[in-house]
């Protein structure tokens, strides 16, 4: 049970961004991403401005660039899709470097690439400056149903444990000379998944009983209530507000 109490994306620090209450950050981030998604895709400069805003947040939070770039791999599947769009979409074509590409598809690919990347970076900034427990409390404060928050809490707490268990089973399989063709492999992997489910579920039963015996009533106690001050709300609103200004200008010029 030596699993970490912080998640992989978190980076400890003491900056103004780290100090902001998590629910303030969450609301600010959501507003920012909404503004970005609603921006017309032809306003190329606006996305540069958004990127600059995010870079400002990253600098304030003292997050090094390689740290962010390394975590951007999650968007790779959609980058592939975005790169395929110019070949798939119909409509008038333009010729770029000897390739006939759909104009519409190029715009669409750009649209997905720009907005998707900005969204991913914004989420990384949130995750890097907020630990999991603060995020859960933020969900609670934002009136997410308590049962859901609780399920999330258990999931976050045990995700590393279960993943670790899966990896140990993998090591065990491979150290016993496990290999084989794809068909046979699927069967063995799936059997491991079945074993993993039984272990997870039985662990859940034990955790539940242990908690009941310690007086658990169905809700997690809130130890500290992080009150957001007006200054903090204003500080956090800077990001979506600047983005909104950029977006409005973009709408007027396009």
């Amino acid at each position: 049970m030596g699993a970490g109490h912080v998640h992989r994306l978190y980076r400890h620090g003491h900056t103004p961004v780290h100090r902001l209450p998590a629910h303030v950050k969450l609301v600010s981030l959501l507003a920012f991403v909404l503004v970005v998604v609603a921006t017309p895709r032809e306003a190329f400069w606006a996305f540069g401005a958004y990127a600059a805003l995010l870079a400002g947040v990253a600098v304030t939070a003292r997050l090094p660039l390689p740290f962010i770039v390394k975590r951007m791999v999650v968007e790779v599947p959609f980058v592939v899709f975005a790169l395929l769009l110019p070949f798939l979409a119909a409509g008038p074509d333009v010729t770029v470097a000897g390739l006939s590409l759909s104009q519409e598809g190029l715009l669409a690919g750009w649209n997905i690439l720009a907005k998707g990347t900005l969204g991913v970076v914004a989420s990384i900034l949130l995750a890097a400056t907020t630990d999991a427990r603060a995020l859960l409390l933020a969900l609670q404060r934002l009136r997410v149903p308590p049962v859901l928050v609780e399920i999330t809490a258990f999931m976050v707490r045990y995700a590393d444990v279960i993943t670790g268990e899966m990896n140990r089973m993998k090591v065990a399989r491979e150290s016993r000379g496990f290999s084989g063709n794809v068909g046979r492999r699927l069967g063995v992997v799936a059997t491991s998944a079945g074993a993993l489910f039984i272990r997870s579920y039985e662990r859940g039963e034990r955790v539940h009983l242990a908690m009941l015996s310690r007086g658990y009533t169905g809700a997690l106690p809130v130890l500290e209530v992080q009150q957001a001050q007006t200054v903090q709300w204003v500080g956090a609103a800077l990001l979506p507000f600047s983005a909104l200004v950029v977006s409005v200008v973009a709408w007027m010029t396009v």
Binding site: H7, V33, N111, A122, T152
Partner: protein, 341 residues
């Protein structure tokens, strides 16, 4: 299959967000009967399991791999409503903590993976279970079919959403065909892993499999002279067996409508991909399959059979093959039982 920000426009994202919130609200209410009271730890651990299981990659084709969505798997193991909660929580954590899937697309992701795969996977599983003999082992083939269909269903809903609020106009028919094609292959992988996982759990702890509840056989005392006495002291009144006909006829009707009507819709742009392919000059690379000369190949474009009819015939053949397969499975099970007894 995690949709990022900017893939769908704001109105569509908000609409799917409302759908997702509604689904979660219903699931919260309904899951109480599935989970024993206040068993959040169990649901949380199941979420952790689905999270870990989504890391299982399987090869789909040249250079690509799909990963498990886990909707059908979760539904079979812990019940549909708990599964909606569990998969939604996984989506939420992935968006918030792992930046996987956009924040504005969270509603879309929950709708696609948390709702569509779970509900389709579960109802198909239930439908198949109604045909199979009533014993825990039947859950395995049933979950196979459920998982197999859940993935293309999610892909189809995604294409519908994309055609409503997508960032660009793509030829609907071509996109649908491509997505369905790929996701049927991914669905096969999902189905194999789901069925084998369920099989492994059924073999060890059938009581944990929600879909197999109430299917375990009563204990029997066997006397030396081969007599079998039911070990139940109290007569258990059999639950009135609900007729499967309404469900079966309804499902068949919906399938036929979709196959007959929607294939017309899909073919309103019949040569979408081919048009683009020709346009891009890569149609020469495409070879017709070996059955291209058959009347039904290319969905009825060749032999003069109307598209809708071709769809209907396709559904008919699929059902026929399915029935034969299930008969075979059922017979094999019966044979095995008679040998072991």
């Amino acid at each position: 299959m995690h949709v990022p920000d900017g893939f769908l426009d704001v109105p569509t994202s908000l609409a799917t967000g409302v759908v997702a919130a509604g689904a979660i609200a219903v699931a919260l209410k309904k899951s109480r009967s599935e989970l024993n009271e206040k068993a959040a730890p169990m649901a949380g651990l199941t979420a952790a399991f689905v999270f870990a299981a989504q890391m299982i990659n399987f090869p789909v084709g040249v250079g690509t791999s799909g990963h498990l969505m886990g909707g059908a798997l979760a539904a079979v193991l812990v019940g549909p409503w708990t599964a909606v909660l569990v998969v939604s929580v996984v989506m939420m954590v992935q968006a918030l903590v792992f930046a996987d899937g956009g924040l504005t697309a969270l509603g879309t992701n929950i709708t696609l993976i948390g709702l569509v795969t779970v509900l389709v996977g579960w109802s198909v599983t239930k439908l198949v279970l109604a045909v199979l003999p009533k014993r825990p082992a039947s859950v395995v083939p049933a979950s196979f079919v459920g998982a197999l269909l859940s993935v293309p269903a999610a892909a189809a809903v995604f294409v519908l959403l994309y055609s409503v609020g997508g960032a660009t106009e793509l030829p609907f028919g071509a996109l649908m065909a491509t997505m369905l094609g790929w996701h049927t292959i991914i669905g096969l992988g999902e189905a194999f892993i789901t069925a084998a996982t369920v099989g492994a759990v059924v073999a060890v702890r059938p009581d944990l499999v929600y879909a197999a509840r109430g299917m375990s056989q009563h204990l029997v005392l066997r006397t030396p002279d081969g007599q079998e006495i039911p070990a139940t002291a109290v007569e258990v009144a059999d639950e009135p067996r609900r007729s499967i006909w309404p469900l079966a006829v309804g499902g068949l009707g919906v399938t036929l409508v979709i196959a007959g009507a929607l294939s017309f819709f899909a073919s309103s742009n019949p040569d979408g991909l081919e048009y683009v392919a020709e346009d891009q000059g890569f149609i020469a690379a495409a070879e017709d399959s070996a059955v291209a000369g058959w009347s039904l190949a290319d969905y009825g474009e060749v032999g003069g059979i109307p598209v809708g009819v071709a769809g209907l015939i396709g559904v008919g053949i699929t059902i026929l093959i399915g029935l034969v397969l299930f008969q075979l499975i059922a017979r094999r099970d019966r044979d095995r039982d008679s040998v072991s007894a």
